[in-house]
C-alpha cells in the first residue's frame, strides 16, 4: 500500500456550524469539557508550543507539541499517550484536524497517524474518536453534548 510502515485512523464528519465556531470548540475548555470527557487542553496554540490533554483530576492524558496551526482551517500536533506506559512506548503520533466550509456546514477530517504497523495507540484512538466527534457535532448542532462524554469515566 505505502512505502513506509504506518498505522492511521481517518474520520470525516459534517457539522452544521461555522469554521470559526468549530475551531473554538476544538480548543476552548468550555467546549472540550462537554464533548471530550471533562478534559481540557493546556496550550498557547502557537507553532512549537507544548500541548497537553489534562484529565479533570490533574493527570496528563496525552502530550506533544503544535506542528502547524492555521485557524480556522488546519491544526497539526504531535501526540503521545502519557498515562498508559504500553502506549507511551510507541512514541509520538501525529494528529491533523482539517476544517473545510461547505455552505452552512463544515467538513471536519481527523487523521491520526503513527509510524509503525499495528499501532496500539491508533487502535485505541480509533475506538475513542467516533464518540468524541459525535458528541462535538451534537453540542454544536443542538447545544447539548452526548451524556456519555460529559465527564471522565470513573476508575480510568
Amino acid at each position: 500500500m505505502s512505502d513506509t510502515a504506518q498505522s492511521s485512523f481517518v474520520y470525516v464528519t459534517y457539522i452544521r456550524t461555522a469554521p470559526e465556531r468549530l475551531w473554538q470548540a476544538l480548543i476552548e475548555p468550555e467546549f472540550t469539557q462537554q464533548f471530550w470527557y471533562g478534559t481540557r487542553q493546556d496550550c498557547t496554540w502557537q507553532v512549537g508550543a507544548s500541548w497537553r490533554l489534562m484529565l479533570p483530576d490533574g493527570r496528563v492524558a496525552d502530550a506533544g507539541e503544535i506542528i502547524e496551526i492555521d485557524p480556522p482551517r488546519r491544526l497539526v500536533l504531535s501526540w503521545r499517550k502519557e498515562f498508559l506506559p504500553e502506549l507511551s512506548a510507541e512514541g509520538y503520533s501525529r494528529l491533523t484536524y482539517a476544517l473545510e466550509q461547505q455552505g452552512e456546514m463544515v467538513k471536519l477530517t481527523i487523521t491520526h497517524q503513527m509510524d509503525c504497523l499495528e499501532s496500539k495507540l491508533i487502535d485505541a484512538v480509533s475506538n475513542g474518536w467516533p464518540v468524541i466527534l459525535a458528541s462535538l457535532k451534537s453540542l454544536l448542532e443542538t447545544g447539548e453534548a452526548l451524556e456519555a462524554t460529559r465527564r471522565w469515566p470513573e476508575g480510568v
Partner: protein, 159 residues
C-alpha cells in the same frame, strides 16, 4: 500480511434503535436526509432493498442478506450506475446498539474485489449520509449534500 480493504464508520446518535432503524429503511424518511434518495430496506433476508434517486431512477437493487430489526441489517451492495454495475456486489452491514440514552451505529462496508472503484466512492458517501442522518434525528433538519455529491447524486455519480 495485507488486510482486505474495508470501510468502517461508527457514530453515536441521541435517539432510539427503532427510530434509527426506520430512518435507514423507510423511503419516506430517507428522502428527508439521504439527499433526496428513496431507500426501501424493510424486507426480509432473501428479498431486495431498493434505492431510487431524486429523479425517480432506480439506482440500487440489493439482496438483503440479514435483517433483524432494529438491530442488524446486511445487504449485498450493487449500484446500477454504469461505471459500477459490472462489479461484483460488495457487502454492507449495519449494527444498531442501544446504550444508555443514545445509540451506537456502526456501518461496515467490505467484501470488495481487488481494484474496486466503489470503495473510494463509498468512503466519501457514508460519512456525509450518516452525518446528515444524525443531524436529522437530533434536530429535525438534515444537512445539505456535500459539494462533491450534489452533482454526483443528480447525475448518477459521474465525475
Amino acid at each position: 500480511m495485507k488486510s482486505k480493504p474495508k470501510f468502517v464508520y461508527v457514530t453515536y446518535i441521541a435517539s432510539t434503535p427503532e427510530k434509527v432503524w426506520q430512518a435507514l429503511t423507510d423511503p419516506s424518511v430517507t428522502e428527508k436526509y439521504w439527499f433526496g434518495f428513496h431507500v426501501a430496506a424493510n424486507g426480509k433476508a432473501g428479498e431486495y432493498m431498493t434505492a431510487h434517486d431524486p429523479t425517480g431512477k432506480e439506482v440500487h437493487r440489493d439482496l438483503i442478506l440479514e435483517s433483524d430489526p432494529p438491530h442488524r441489517l446486511s445487504y449485498a451492495w450493487h449500484p446500477l450506475y454504469d461505471e459500477f454495475k459490472h462489479e461484483r456486489p460488495s457487502r454492507v452491514t449495519i449494527e444498531i446498539t442501544p446504550l444508555k440514552d443514545q445509540v451506537r451505529l456502526t456501518v461496515v462496508h467490505d467484501d470488495f474485489d481487488e481494484g474496486s472503484i466503489v470503495l473510494e466512492k463509498i468512503s466519501n458517501g457514508w460519512p456525509a449520509v450518516l452525518s446528515s442522518l444524525k443531524t436529522y434525528l437530533e434536530t429535525g433538519r438534515s444537512l445539505a449534500a456535500p459539494s462533491w455529491s450534489a452533482t454526483a447524486a443528480a447525475e448518477g455519480s459521474h465525475e
